[in-house]
Amino acid sequence: MKYKNLSALRFVLSVALTIAGFVSAIIVNAAVPQAAAVKINRYEYFGGTLDFNILYRYAAAGIIILYLGLAVFAYFSEERRVNYVKRAPFRFALGVALALWDILGTKYLLLPQPFFPGPAAILETFLNEPAFVLENTLYSLKLYAAGFTAGVTFGVGTGILIGWFPRVYYWVSPVLKITGVIPAVAWMPFALTLAPTPFTAAVFLMTMCAWFPIASFTAQGVQSTAKVHFEVAKTLGANTAQLVFRVAIPHALPQIFGGISMANGFMFTTLVMSEMMGQPGGLGYYIQLSRVWSAYYKVFAAIIIMAALFSIILYIIGIVQNRALRWQKGLVK
């Protein structure tokens, strides 16, 4: 397929294709009769009644508005227009998949229940107990923020010490290498027993899992600083502290960010695992709680929130990284 000299008609057709999938999802939801016996609960919200089908249609309409907005935004740039056109078939398929899933999961109940609810049923979670879902999401976010801060501080700190002082390298790096290969959740029994609160236990576990990648990458970055940079800095009047903070650390910054993005994956895993095994809140806790009641639609809802939350976190870290490493632009591919 060629995207050069994209015609206006082609772009408009792509917009139509993009939203057609989700329009079909709304039509299917509204027009296909409810064949299977599914209890449809009604909830009072904003002075009106809502059921999960209505919420589902609102959500699909929301996606349509989002893509129309994106189309307007993309219209003014050639590059964005091409990207929009490229993604149109996938977005169309997404809408059609929703419609099919709706038929199989809600209308005819052909998927094994209660493990695979329809898309509308998953959304029911947000009608059922929105405050509780929000509370657990915020708990996860708080835990992540604490664990991330502690892990990065501790990891970068020891990494600098290991990279700078040969003596620290001698004594600490073997410990780092051995403890680093152990999945942090293995320490959970000790953490839960010894830590004053479950929250600090989880922060400890996240710090443990972030420590190894961040510290070893940071140490490598510090150690690989060119001798000539230290020498030049010295002749320019830098003292020892400035050699660390104004030569070694800026030089190690790309590796530090490499370590952080690696650690992030471990931290997400550790966060959810520790929430599932002994936290008084959090999305992992919510999944565990819902599983006990066989409310699998709530499990799916929690998974969707996690996907969104973790994507946003990665996106923000990416922005910070691009900003901090903008001197590398064009230097490395």
């Binding site: 104004r246 910054l253 001197w327």
Partner: protein, 260 residues
């Protein structure tokens, strides 16, 4: 102030590695450097010219002998000696402006002397490139930035370790002129290390010819040609022949028996 800025007296520097190979990098070097002069060390590789420059910079120490700057023994680096390396000396994570301002920033003098940074960017002709990063500018520009960065601390002596070694001949000539201009501007004593005979004659007031194994001073020549010097001039060519002969003769000499 005395006319002599730097006194090198009987300096020896021996390197030995783990396998007990001993290299006598510098053997009994004595020399007086005059204030404000442009002095060049020239010689083939291994004659110890870079080692000597590092000793003056304070990045290395002699086994015996003394280096006196204004009568005080050199001990470690200080901002009264600027140091420019062949290439790769700029901090890649800092822009042109921040590289030049580095010396002021680490000494806490940046706020007071911001104008100097602008002045030096102008002097080296890099207006408009303040925000560029080292990998975005040419090798010649990078060396000009490195020289400005060293000069912003107003050093007594600027040490130049083959700063034009990695550049093409046009850029090299350009930077040579820039160096003379900056020397006039700052009044700093300049000590250059090179293996380029033309460069040495074009820039120097005095040329120190060094010979290897062990590194020692073979001869010191005065360059009495008035500036601006013409590279094709009769005096220039005569001097060039003279130096080349000395360098060739020096390397053809039989090695003394006591070296390994």
């Amino acid at each position: 102030m005395s006319d002599i800025v730097l006194e090198i007296a009987g300096v020896n520097r021996i390197y030995s590695d783990d396998k007990e190979n001993v290299v006598e990098a510098l053997h009994d070097i004595s020399l007086s450097v005059r204030r404000g002069e442009f002095l060049t060390f020239i010689g083939s590789s291994g004659c110890g010219k870079t080692t000597l420059l590092r000793l003056i910079a304070g990045l290395d120490e002699p086994q015996s002998g003394k280096l006196l700057l204004d009568g005080k023994e050199i001990c470690g680096t200080d901002t009264n000696r600027g140091y420019v390396v062949q290439q790769g000396g700029l901090f890649p994570w800092l822009s042109v402006r921040d590289n030049i301002a580095y010396g002021l920033k680490v000494r806490g003098l940046y706020q007071k002397n911001k104008a100097d940074v602008v002045k030096y960017i102008g002097l080296i002709g890099l207006d408009g490139f303040e925000k560029s990063y080292p990998h975005q500018i040419s090798g010649g520009m990078a060396q000009r930035v490195a020289i400005a960065r060293a000069l912003i601390n107003n050093p007594e002596i600027l040490l130049l370790d083959e700063p034009m070694g990695a550049l093409d001949s046009f850029t090299r000539a350009d930077i040579q002129d820039k160096l003379l201009e900056l020397k006039g501007e700052s009044g700093a004593t300049m000590i250059l290390v090179t293996h380029d005979v033309d460069e040495a004659i074009y820039l120097s007031d005095r040329i120190v010819i060094m010979t290897p194994r062990p590194g020692r001073i073979n001869d010191v020549l005065n360059v009495a040609i008035p500036h601006p010097r013409h590279r094709g001039g009769v005096e220039f060519m005569a001097m060039r022949r003279d130096i080349l002969e000395k360098l060739n003769l020096a390397s053809a000499q039989p090695q003394p028996e006591y070296t390994i």
